[in-house]
């Protein structure tokens, strides 16, 4: 089924995320490697039709989660489902892999093959292979068909790996750090291709990233993962709308007692200035600030980067 842009009102309804159908779902997922806890109870719900950014620092547990969802690694405990199928059972895991397009960070390609060989070789495994898209992306990405993969630049390899994933006719595309190591122009080209693809095909994209800017740019939902757990998730625009920084300046030193208003995520005092990171309605906090005789009060939006830095912990 294709999306029809603004051609009818019905097309708008289709874009409303249906909250009770998770395309990816994990519950209390744990993974221990040689005594090191990579995942410590990771809960994740990805609605279908979204572009979902799985955001975290290096080593936060992103790749481990992707491997478990793909059946490449097995969870120590907890539940992982894709399309409602158990990712840990061999049979359903095979079906999951058949319905997913995956691009690993290493872009697994056969170095001795030419671009054309690699495309033909991959197409054979997928009965729903989209030859129309293959032709379109070969042209769009300007991939030289006769060149061997070992002679391709990193950007070309990324674009080829993306082409192979996009042409499978997959319902779900999983990408591990899709733009890592790419120059800004190629990175933008990759993001553009992803947006162009979801705009035309019914598809969900789940991508891991440590780059806040690209999550900001193309995702509509995100989960921030830290130390093997999801510490914050939701629609990006809701998060942007929800968090505020409130700066109050006082005549003397900022009052030292706790503020009583609800919705205070973090407080910082420095001399005459009290800075509050708030979540939700700011009015009770503003009222309290006025009651404390703040000389000036300033409310400003908080960027995803700031939210990220406030929610992830330091080094362990």
């Amino acid at each position: 089924m294709k999306r029809s842009g603004v051609s009818s009102k019905r097309s708008f309804a289709q874009e409303v995320v249906v909250a009770d159908s998770w395309i990816i779902e994990t519950a209390a997922l744990r993974k221990t490697y040689d005594g090191v806890e990579a995942l410590r109870g990771l809960d994740l719900q990805v609605p279908s039709g979204s572009i979902y950014g799985f955001l975290g620092r290096n080593g936060a547990g992103k790749t481990t989660t992707l491997k478990i969802l793909l059946g490449i690694a097995h969870a120590t405990a907890g539940d992982a489902r894709v399309f409602g199928l158990d990712a840990s059972a061999p049979r359903s895991s095979e079906e999951i892999r058949r319905r997913i397009g995956f691009v690993s960070e290493e872009k697994d390609l056969y170095r001795f093959m030419t671009v054309e060989d690699m495309v033909r070789f991959t197409a054979r495994f997928f009965p729903r292979w989209r030859s129309d898209l293959e032709q379109r992306y070969l042209r769009k990405f300007e991939l030289p068909r006769d060149r061997r993969i070992r002679a391709l630049s990193r950007g070309m390899r990324t674009k080829l790996a993306l082409l192979l994933a996009l042409c499978r006719g997959a319902e779900l595309l999983m990408l591990d750090e899709p733009t890592s190591g790419l120059d800004p122009a190629i990175a933008e080209e990759v993001l553009q291709a992803l947006i162009g693809h979801v705009a035309n095909e019914e598809m969900t994209i789940f991508f891991s990233s440590h780059q806040i800017a690209e999550v900001d740019q193309i995702a509509d939902r995100t989960a921030i993962v830290d130390l093997g757990r999801v510490v914050l998730d939701g629609a990006l625009d809701d998060l942007r709308e929800d968090f505020r920084r409130i700066r109050m300046v006082f005549e003397g030193d900022a009052p030292s007692g706790d503020l009583r208003a609800p919705g205070i995520a973090r407080v910082q005092r420095k001399g005459r200035v009290l800075t509050v990171l708030s979540r939700g309605d700011t009015n009770p906090i503003l009222d309290e600030a006025r009651a404390l005789d703040a000389l000036s009060i300033d409310v400003s939006p908080v960027t995803l980067k700031e939210i990220f830095l406030e929610t992830v912990g330091g080094e362990e």
Binding site: G5, F12, E15, Q192, A199, A219, D237, D298, V299
Partner: protein, 128 residues
Amino acid sequence: MLFKPNPSSGVPIYLQLMEQVKHAIETGALREGDQLPGIRPLAEELVMNPNTVAKAYRELEHEGVIELRHGSGAFIARNRRAGKLADTFRAGQSLIAGTIAKLRARGVSDEEIRRLFEAELRTGGRRG
């Protein structure tokens, strides 16, 4: 391009897009009956999430600023709401121009005026 939301500003992107459509109407760049780009082409052009564009259009329709016509796309509404945007803008413009002139006459710098406006807007214009 008429629209260019900034994803890293901290302001919800659908709101930025709504503001930019309204601003284009206020300045006369878009007029009643003009067609807006489709969700898909606009998302592709701005390299932003199609769901976000769809949300902005839905909200604009809800506010009566645009009309979604079955099978033919999104248009600036031919109603009083869209027409009033331009009027409100002109009225507000002269009011604010007056205030700015007075502040400048008292030696307040443009930078200070900008900060005053922003602080007043952000705290909801409510005072003790």
